[in-house]
Amino acid sequence: MTWDAAVTVLAMEKLKKFLYGEKFESPTLNRVKAKILKGNPAELSQENLEKFIAVGRTFVDSRITFPLHAGQDPMQTPSRAYDTSLSLLAASDYQFIPDDLFKDTQLRLQLLKKAKAALSGPHGMRRYNEFTETTKDGKQVKLHDSWLNINQNMPKSVLEPLLKQPVISTAKTHTDHIDSSSADSLLERQGGLSQFKYTAQWQLGLSASLQSLAKMKIALLREIQQKGSASVDEKNLLKEINKESLDFVNRNVAAIPGPLLGTEKLLKADGSPCQAYIPLEAYQAIPDLNNEIKYVPGEHSLPWHSSQLFDGLRKTLRAQKMEESLRSKGLLDT
């Protein structure tokens, strides 16, 4: 998977810098470095780390940088072009074009916008779209994200009369998660229980996108600050980042649960109480009493999402203060 490869590269870049790129010395630091290098394994030499990083970067280029340059889709896996992991990648410290900050920012923004267009719904972002996979017996099947899908929390005794058919699953109830993402098990989990159009709409992609935009803006403004002026292209890029930042601030905060008229007491999709202001993992589809599909607060809160939102909002604020400061100095004048 592309995200796994990219984060492996990031880790090895960090290791190389820690072992070979720091001038500072102390007895503790030297001892720690020696312990990481115990036995002096060949693969942890500076030269080999550099080779490994270069090759890993080529792999990521083949799936992100080159396709985006050519106006094509990026690729998380061969069968699944778009995945929330691409938003995590856009938000990470991974540099697609390390020697050109402007082009790197352009590319990161392109990745973010494409993922947004492919995965967004009104209540969040799908983890991934429907895709085709091959089962053990060679059949091509269409799969979708069934976790927290419609009816996820319906017990069998309720679901079967609703579906007017037996629930096709070895799980005792629908809430017994089948821990497998192989095509066969996903099919089993999906049997009669979920539909692509009622995929849960997740929040992790929203907060990662906000983090990514803030990171881009801070980097771009730093560059402008250092140069003492902004080119037309830089100003246009900043404008585009601001437009997306506004959208993702709105999307993220709009999705934080709170009482609404008529529903002062909030519930989650599994019937448990929902705490206002605590960011959720997802919004889940539920058939209401008129059998209309509604997206209601999902089963879990998710501190991981809170962590990303905290980082994204805080850096967006910091970036905005930087922009206002540069504007006051006339560095961004049109």
Binding site: A254, P257, L267, L317, E324
Partner: protein, 316 residues
């Protein structure tokens, strides 16, 4: 016997029949049954029927809630609360952003709940369920921005616990198998790899408050050890935490959330052993998985490109 109710025509349910706390329905029913079912012969059947009825009531409650649930629609956004109105482009300024950030902070949107013993965070408000009471390495790694800011000591403990987990005999066995023969990971069972999930409740500390790797219980039910994200993220975070505590920044300062010498030496020397070995072994593991195996009778040569692609494709 209870009939299956039509979902649109649920009867009125009396408070005495049903538990008040929806989540603890089974327990409440069991408690209620103790006194209420004396003299009834088929208690198991009655219990099953009551649980069915409880399920139906729970489903009715959430469907009723969904019927009344109306997010606000403003400027193309679905707003799931009353406190926020989408910002217009003209209001996208530091004043408004600060106001939103402060409001969310004061209302608890950014809180982190850390175990004082392990530093591990509560991964969800539903951590009483099987699924959410487990700990992924990724859950810990992704708390980096929030936990290190709000609870720097907790972050350090978190990283120490995860470093100990990566020193678990099963993790180290998977590393050794992969180093001996990367095809063990690449072509073997989907279980062939370093684990991703363990049970926080199993973490035990020694007398120096250092976690004991061998006591940590793994989630044996998880289907696949193929992904590399967990180990890569944890290696990255351990290195960042070491750097923050051992290498001063431009202003000569160390970060409060970094591993300082006192976290690694003396009584805490095992922490250093676990952290350094976790980085050492996971780095070699990640490289081995994505690199050609050692050619027979020759020195180690890296040819990561071809196998890296093939390997990553297979695992996808």
């Amino acid at each position: 016997m209870f009939a299956v109710f039509s979902l649109n025509k649920i009867p009125t349910l009396s408070a005495s029949t049903f538990p008040k706390k929806l989540n603890s329905g089974e327990n409440s029913i069991n408690d209620g049954l103790k006194g209420a079912t004396a003299g009834i012969s088929d208690k198991a059947k009655l219990r099953s029927d009551l649980l069915d009825l409880f399920d139906h009531n729970k489903v009715y409650q959430i469907r009723l809630f969904a019927t009344m649930y109306q997010p606000r629609h403003i400027d193309g956004y679905q707003i799931h609360n009353r406190f926020f109105t989408p910002l217009k482009p003209s209001a996208f300024n530091s004043h408004e952003l600060e106001r939103i950030f402060k409001e969310l902070s004061s209302k608890g949107s950014f809180k982190v709940i850390t175990s004082p013993k392990t530093g591990l965070i509560r991964t969800s408000d539903k951590d009483d369920t099987h699924h959410m009471s487990r700990q992924w390495f990724t859950d810990s790694a992704m708390m980096f921005p929030l936990q290190r800011t709000l609870d720097p000591q907790g972050w350090k403990k978190n990283m120490m616990t995860n470093a100990a987990a990566l020193n678990h005999p099963e993790a180290q066995r998977a590393v050794q198998e992969t180093l001996k023969n990367p095809d063990w990971f690449r072509k073997g069972s989907v279980k062939n790899g370093v684990f991703h999930i363990y049970w926080p409740s199993s973490v035990e500390l020694d007398t120096n408050q250092v976690p004991k790797p061998e006591k940590i219980k793994l989630d044996e039910t998880w289907f696949s050890q193929n992904r590399l994200e967990s180990q890569a993220l944890m290696t990255l975070r351990l290195l960042e935490t070491l750097k923050a505590g051992l290498i001063p920044n431009k202003n000569g300062q160390l970060k409060p959330w970094g591993f300082h010498p006192q976290d690694l030496e003396g009584r805490k020397a095992k922490n250093e052993a676990y952290v350094t070995n976790a980085i050492h072994s996971m780095s070699r593991y990640l490289i081995a998985v994505n690199t050609d195996p050692k050619p027979k009778n020759s020195i180690f040569i890296l040819h990561p490109l071809a196998h890296g692609k093939r390997c990553l494709s297979r695992k996808e």
